[in-house]
């Protein structure tokens, strides 16, 4: 049982990977590739041997699908948006938009047309991706197994690539707005002249590397922590669902139901935190406080 249990877990944590294998590579089924080419990985080993040039088809597919679902719903509401009595969908969409708009207005005081829609996209999209965590762990993988696909991870946010992809985009925006608002000199000054500063020019120059190290770390920590916080929470949640699924049937629902209910809080909270921190980081990028 121990072997099969760890296999079960590993199988559940393996993405459906489409990537490039080098020539002369021995596949999991024993065949040897004659030339380098793109293919679906047949095992976890193959997937990791593909290196950087591989796509997690399941993560991307679910993420894009859920993103399209979100935009479809909201676009439908936007098209029918009326200033008279709103219908059910418009009501819901308006509640979401007002909630996000208020969050943005409380934190970000500048004028920027990007941040509010960005925050809305992040919140709804991350929430939907997290929501896949509440689908029983074997449902969708089993369905796809019947369709001939062996690996299927349905929660995109349990894939660190997905969270990193988003957090690095946010990071790019942070850099962009920092440079735009403060200028290159201002941004460099912020990185090198704080938190330690001196009136003595020599001492000031001496402190530059120290400041750069501190500020650099705190700058880099923003996207990394943003990505890993979301990933870690969802990965752990998913892992616990998988572990619960290993238990005998009578014990499963006594544990998975409370965990799922608790997880409703976690997925909402994580989506909110990702959105809120994005707003905070971007408002910090806009502030010329130093």
């Amino acid at each position: 049982m121990a072997g099969s249990a760890s296999e079960y877990i590993q199988h559940h944590l393996q993405n459906l990977t489409y990537g490039k294998l080098p020539a002369g590579y021995e596949r999991a089924d024993g065949t040897v590739t004659s030339e380098a080419g793109w293919t679906l990985a047949q095992s976890g080993q193959e997937a990791s041997d593909m290196g950087f040039w591989a796509l997690h088809v399941d993560s991307l597919g679910w993420a894009v699908g859920l993103g399209v679902l979100f935009l479809f719903l909201f676009r439908m509401a936007a098209k029918r948006a009326t200033s008279d009595t709103p219908g059910g969908l418009q009501n819901f969409v308006e509640v979401m938009i007002e909630f996000v708009d208020n969050s943005v207005k409380e934190t970000f005081h500048g004028r920027n047309k990007v941040i509010a829609p960005l925050a809305l996209t992040i919140f709804c999209w991350v929430f939907l991706m997290n929501l896949m965590d509440l689908v029983p762990v074997d449902f969708l993988p089993q369905l796809f197994h019947l369709a001939g696909l062996d690996y299927m991870k349905v929660v995109p946010t349990t894939d660190v690539n997905v969270t990193l992809g988003m957090s690095l985009s946010v990071f790019a925006l942070i850099i962009y707005y920092s440079l735009k608002v403060k200028g290159v000199g201002g941004f460099l000054g912020e990185l090198t002249l704080h938190p330690f500063s001196s009136d003595n020019l020599f001492l000031k120059i001496l402190l530059v590397p120290v400041n750069l190290l501190l500020e650099g770390v705190s700058l880099i920590a923003k996207p990394i922590s943003l990505a890993l916080r979301l990933f870690g929470n969802l990965y752990a949640g998913e892992l616990i669902f998988i572990l619960i699924a290993l238990l005998p049937l009578w014990a499963q629902w006594t544990l998975s139901v409370p965990w799922a209910i608790f997880h409703i809080l976690v997925i909402t909270l994580q989506a909110f935190i990702f959105m809120m921190l994005t707003i905070v980081y971007l408002s910090m990028a806009h502030e010329d406080s130093h």
Partner: protein, 156 residues
């Protein structure tokens, strides 16, 4: 836990979604929200204005009512005064008329009495002459005795 192209794919998808949201989702809904906000604000302002108008109108109508009452009171007073005047005047007229009539009647009575007295006098003179004729058995020449007869008639 492989870091791979997925990251870039996700970033591209993220970018596209944000742009879509920014262009086609956020503005129309925000516009609808703001329009509704404006409508509600306008409605509240209008109701405020209407309430104020109503108050003003009520005040005005109360004032007009008061003025009308006052006017009516003045009119009634004037009418009463006028009526009294007319009654007084007609009373005076009537009295004057009555007096005049009485005066006339008195004058007429006097006149008729005088006439009757004259007639009587003449008749008595005639009767006296007739009587005297009888007594004398001769005719009295009225012309001869007219002086005497006139004297007699004046005595009656």
């Amino acid at each position: 836990m492989n870091i791979n192209l997925t990251m870039i794919g996700q970033a591209i998808a993220f970018f596209i979604f944000v742009v879509f949201c920014m262009k086609y989702v956020w503005p129309p809904i925000m516009a609808a929200l703001q329009e509704r906000q404006k409508k509600i604000a306008d409605g509240l302002a209008a109701s405020d204005r209407a309430a104020r108008d109503l108050e003003l109108a009520q005040e005005k109508s109360a004032q007009e009512l008061r003025e009308a009452k006052q006017q009516a009171a003045t009119l009634i007073e004037q009418a009463n005064k006028r009526a009294n005047q007319i009654v007084e005047a007609s009373k005076a007229d009537a009295r004057k008329e009555g007096e005049k009539l009485i005066e006339q009647a008195k004058a007429e009575i006097e006149q008729e009495r005088n006439q009757a007295r004259d007639a009587l006098r003449a008749e008595i003179a005639a009767i006296a002459i007739a009587g005297a004729e009888k007594i004398l058995e001769t005719s009295v020449d009225a012309n001869k005795h007219s002086e005497m007869l006139d004297k007699l008639a004046a005595e009656l």
